[in-house]
């Protein structure tokens, strides 16, 4: 049995505090994504509501912003912010801060587009029939428009959240020691004693990402089913 674990390289996990270090790495990844997601949701909702107002100036600016985010690979954004902007502005920014800025920049763009899409997908007649029933504007949004928007929005934004968690694997490129980087370090350090560590470690990293994302996507499925009626 032990030989089997060694062959697959899982034995490394039990050496020293390797498993704990991987979990700490996952913690870093989750910290970056949770902070970015929370800020993105708040800013994305504000921007999305503004975009749904059909103001020309706001929409042109938002469109340029969205296109930049769509076209630019996240890694390039990371490099620009961490290596580029910090130099130009002569500031010293921690890598984690830089990655949160980049992830928020990206998440806000996508979130705002989802919010805008959900808002404009509510038929005009929902507003009219609420008005005809005598609701004030705030009652109309509170009881009719926002609940419907949220129902459309949540499955879409959960998809965004899991993508953001997965994409944190890029931040090791600017020197952040998150779960994937920890994995590499462990493999490196045990190259001689456990040459097969790569499989065991990366499989564990895979599993950790899965454990982080799977409940979230299950929640989205559950909500979708519950709201189907």
């Amino acid at each position: 049995m032990n030989a089997f674990f060694e062959k697959l390289g899982f034995d490394v996990l039990l050496k020293g505090n390797n498993m704990l270090r991987l979990l700490q790495g996952l913690g870093v990844a989750l910290r970056i994504s949770v902070i970015s997601v929370v800020i993105s949701i708040v800013l994305g909702i504000i921007l999305g509501v503004l975009m749904a107002q059909k103001n020309k100036v706001i929409n042109v600016i938002a469109k340029i912003y969205l296109e930049i985010v769509r076209i630019m690979p996240q890694m390039v954004l990371l490099f620009i912010v961490y290596f580029g902007i910090t130099k130009v502005l002569g500031i010293n920014m921690e890598a984690e801060k830089a990655s949160i800025i980049v992830f928020t920049f990206w998440g806000t763009a996508e979130m705002s587009d989802l919010v805008r899409g959900s808002l404009i997908s509510i038929p005009k007649t929902q507003y009219e029939s609420s008005e005809a029933l005598g609701f004030t504007k705030s009652q109309m949004y509170m009881y009719v428009i926002i609940p419907q928007t949220i129902r459309r929005l949540i499955p879409l934004s959960i998809n965004l959240i899991t993508r953001m968690i997965k994409t944190t694997s890029l931040v090791m490129m600017i020197g952040i020691v998150e779960v994937l980087k920890v994995g590499q370090q462990i493999i490196e350090a045990n190259r001689k004693t456990s040459p097969n560590a790569a499989f065991g470690i990366f499989a564990t990293v895979f599993l950790l990402y899965f454990i982080a994302c799977w409940p979230i996507s299950q929640l989205s499925k559950y909500l979708e089913r519950r709201w189907e009626n």
Partner: protein, 245 residues
């Protein structure tokens, strides 16, 4: 009978294009007025101007001698007094049938929850839909949804009900169940203003027919007068378009 609703010299234009021109109408309490006319003649816009869903360019709409359009400041109480049912039902998809009905009286009129739910059940029972009270709108047929929409307007105890082509989106076999509800409301003396394409229904339900064309009321009269003894050529041509020879 007292006058409930008065429309004086109503003028409505969309981007300079006149839709309604100098429309005048007085509706008495308990009166059922049916508006007919070709598509695009302005009859739906006319209804929407009455409860302030559209702004108007000239003239005014009065409910009990109180100006309600143009007068943006207190449209809310207006909306409580004027019920409206739309062609596309517009139930709230995220709420059950009974919650659809109960939401506005609880939130807008601040009535007691238990009273509202009791009345909602009674009204749903009246239109034969009590068994559906915990269903969601998407589980109902078009005709059922439209009956719920009528109940949703009724529970506000409006003084006048506006019906905007409420059967136009329905399959033919569902038209009747909706029209029968409206007919029973007419029998109990409700004041209603109905836009419809159902001529037989118009004949059966109306105290008065208004024929609109090109943004004007072209002809007006009791159903007998209007259908048996049509005066204007335009109305005659319109009625002929329903006959197959």
């Amino acid at each position: 009978m007292e006058d409930i609703l008065k429309i004086e010299h109503l003028h409505k234009a969309f981007d300079g294009f006149t839709v309604l021109e100098d429309v005048n109408l007085t509706v008495k309490k308990g009166e059922v007025t049916v508006v007919i006319g070709p598509s695009g003649c302005g009859k739906s816009t006319f209804l929407r101007c009455i409860n302030g869903l559209e702004d108007i360019q000239d003239g005014r709409v009065l409910l009990h001698d109180e100006v309600i359009n143009p007068n943006k400041k207190d449209l809310r109480s207006t909306h409580e007094k004027i019920g409206m049912v739309f062609q596309s039902y517009d139930l709230f998809p995220h709420k059950t049938i009974i919650d659809n009905v109960a939401l506005a009286p609880i939130k807008v009129q601040k009535r007691k929850k238990e009273d509202v739910y009791k009345e909602a059940s009674e009204l749903l029972d009246r239109v034969g839909l009590l068994a559906k009270k915990d269903s969601f709108p998407r589980q109902l047929s078009g005709g059922q949804k439209q009956r719920v929409a009528i109940v949703r307007a009724l529970i506000m105890h409006p003084e006048i009900l506006l019906f905007d082509e409420v059967t136009a989106a329905l399959d033919p076999e569902m038209v009747r169940e909706v029209l029968e509800v409206i007919l029973s409301l007419a029998k109990e003396g409700r004041t209603m203003l109905i836009v419809t394409h159902e001529m037989d229904f118009a004949k059966a339900v109306a105290d008065r027919i208004l024929f609109m064309d090109g943004g004007h009321i072209v002809e007006e009269g009791s159903p007998e007068e209007f259908f048996e003894n049509t005066k204007t050529d335009r109305a005659k041509r319109f009625l002929d378009s329903f006959k197959y020879k």
